[in-house]
Symmetry: C3
Subunit: 279 residues, 3 copies
């Protein structure tokens, strides 16, 4: 489905307002490094947060949440059971969910889990460029075959280099993919949006990406995948740019960033610059 930019902006507006109005629950299974920031970012945009580790609790969250966020960071042994059961529950109930393949390439369990996720078709994949390329490769999607350069959890590839991989992933899942970078890319396999803003400080704090994934889940509870991903990306770019203008160091930036997430109006978010093109 193609849309005009003005239509998209209207839907972004609606998503921001609906999240504030409905206070949707968006549960997470996410890493211990940034779990607090994920929850606070979700609350700042109007969502409700809940985090679990156990298999039946993941299924429980899947059942009651408007959307769910599965982040592959700091895996525990129990994730071998928790992640597949939760993803299956989400898939079978046709509930929106967000996958963050952080750390792809590190360890056997993560590889095993990420391979399994292919069948459960995450509504939205949120990752940096290297992770998107690596995931498309792992899932055997022909994406032009730029080899990924993952190192730890940081991207070594440009967002542009991940365009084909992102489109291929979105076409496979039938959902959307959001690639975080200096200019962010969001695609549903048909359209590609490039979103501008943010701050260089977002790479100087831990969890900008993870918490964006959590916020995508909040919006996925009230909007379709492409709009949810673009709304979250836009509010991050808006709040990041505004915070950047207010502070000069990373810890102050994190505080100002969360404050601006909270303060951002629907009009602010919809006015965050982006361009649309065909995939």
């Amino acid at each position: 489905m193609k849309m005009e930019k003005a239509q998209i902006q209207q839907q972004i507006c609606d998503a921001v307002e609906e999240a504030r109005r409905q206070n949707p629950m968006a549960g997470s299974i996410t890493n211990t490094v940034t779990i607090n920031l994920v929850a606070n970012a979700q609350l700042a945009v109007g969502g409700s947060a809940a985090m679990v580790y156990l298999p039946d609790e993941g299924e429980g969250l899947a059942a009651v949440g408007g959307a769910t966020y599965l982040n592959m960071g700091t895996l525990f042994p129990v994730y071998a059971e928790t992640i597949p059961r939760t993803a299956r529950a989400l898939h079978d109930a046709d509930k929106p969910w967000v996958l963050d393949p952080v750390g792809i390439g590190i360890g056997a369990l993560r590889t095993d889990l990420l391979k399994q996720m292919k069948a459960f078709k995450p509504s939205i994949i949120r990752a940096n460029a290297s992770e998107v390329i690596a995931l498309a490769d792992m899932w055997g999607l022909d994406a032009g075959k730029t080899p990924s350069q993952v190192r730890g959890v940081d991207s070594q590839d440009s967002v542009d280099a991940a365009t084909n991989a992102a489109v291929a992933l979105a076409r496979w899942t039938g959902g959307a993919v959001a690639v975080s970078g200096e200019v962010d890319l969001v695609t549903d396999g048909t359209m590609i949006a490039h979103s501008h803003g943010g701050s260089s400080f977002m790479e100087k704090i831990t969890g900008a990406g993870c918490s964006l994934g959590g916020v995508v889940a909040v919006y996925a509870a009230v909007a379709a995948p492409f709009i949810a991903a673009l709304t979250a990306t836009s509010i991050y770019n808006f709040a990041g740019a505004r915070a950047d203008a207010q502070v000069d160091a990373p810890a102050s930036f994190q505080v100002a960033f969360l404050d601006n997430l909270y303060k951002a109006s629907a009009a602010d978010v919809a006015a965050t610059p982006f361009e649309i093109e065909e995939a």
Copy 2:
């Protein structure tokens, strides 16, 4: 035991000062989402924090700590052993401890653990209204039977609706119950205090409730359960109200709130408004 308001205020004063003077150790088994805020809040009021997950470490903390905090969030498989052994150690040694039944209703392990906690009679139960109602119901205490409306970790019930349940729980444990809400309720089954203050931002950050539980444990190391619960509730209401007047967004609020916890004088805390009535 009934007390006059002035007596209670004097004991609140003493609790604030004793915590600062004694630097009591209040160990925790608590969730990964808000664990950092729990520790920092405990330090801000003069306590010493230590967090563990393993069974013998829980017993160790129980032995050396002045009081202990058991929070049911983000359960790991090892909690099946850790929580009962720690609670039993606390009960058998007649040491004060605080139970936070966060997430009650989510998952089989949490239900199993919370049922077991009945026999170990937590000195103080700290929860929101929905959780208090659900716990009284789970423990078979006739509390007027308002059905709980738990959804994830947020309360859907009013504090008033939880009064009977709170009183019933306090009578069962012989300790105190603190119900967090817009107006907070603290009861020992005989007296009911309503404490005022705080800020609407406390629901816009994650961990206001969890960290309150940790601070209750600090005061429980130096005061009786009812006074410990009311002192912690009062200092939260004082610091929350003061921070609310200083900032206009949630991340700034969290910083200002912790700062004000640290700066609060014993007189400030004792002067935080509350009313006392018979249960």
Copy 3:
């Protein structure tokens, strides 16, 4: 190897600049209480952070990281396998790594793990005075036998009382030991540096010590152990003192401290006061 103070200061300068230039990856296995602060402090000084829990992931981090940080807080059952395998991988590959024996004395697993660490000779041990004394004692290093007074995770001993233990540990490992306290001590078994600065607020926030360990690891990726430990200690003393002058309460202090870590120039860090003497 003995060095003149000016030489040492030049090497501190170089370490600060190299960390900013190289963005070295310093992976961690660390506790859930302060894991976010560890990562943010590592980013603030120019490093790259990644945290894991599983055995093969620990080995993976050891292989790709410039240095690795192993912190014994909040042990999970899987650590029984993860910590020894990771430490062995680091030792066998002759990669620098930092041990933080936090919580020494609490629980059987921690004792077992810390005993095993003796053979893997951590490049740098970062701890408070009580922990350093307890570790030297556990490893059977004759250190003058001041009995340690560990209580939970806080030091009950003075840094001076830990001098012999620190020197003995450094001689055993052939690396360096950093003892945190009001005046910090860093030794390689030959030289002893005393570093000044910091803030009393560093004991009023959780994680000053843990995050220092993570920052030591960043510098250990670009400098020898003694210089890495002294550089990290110096930048902490510089940023702590500067933040102390800017704020009056602990949560504001944490924000200002991280901001000042980020802003500290190589010249600032090298100019942080220290004295050198022979061990």
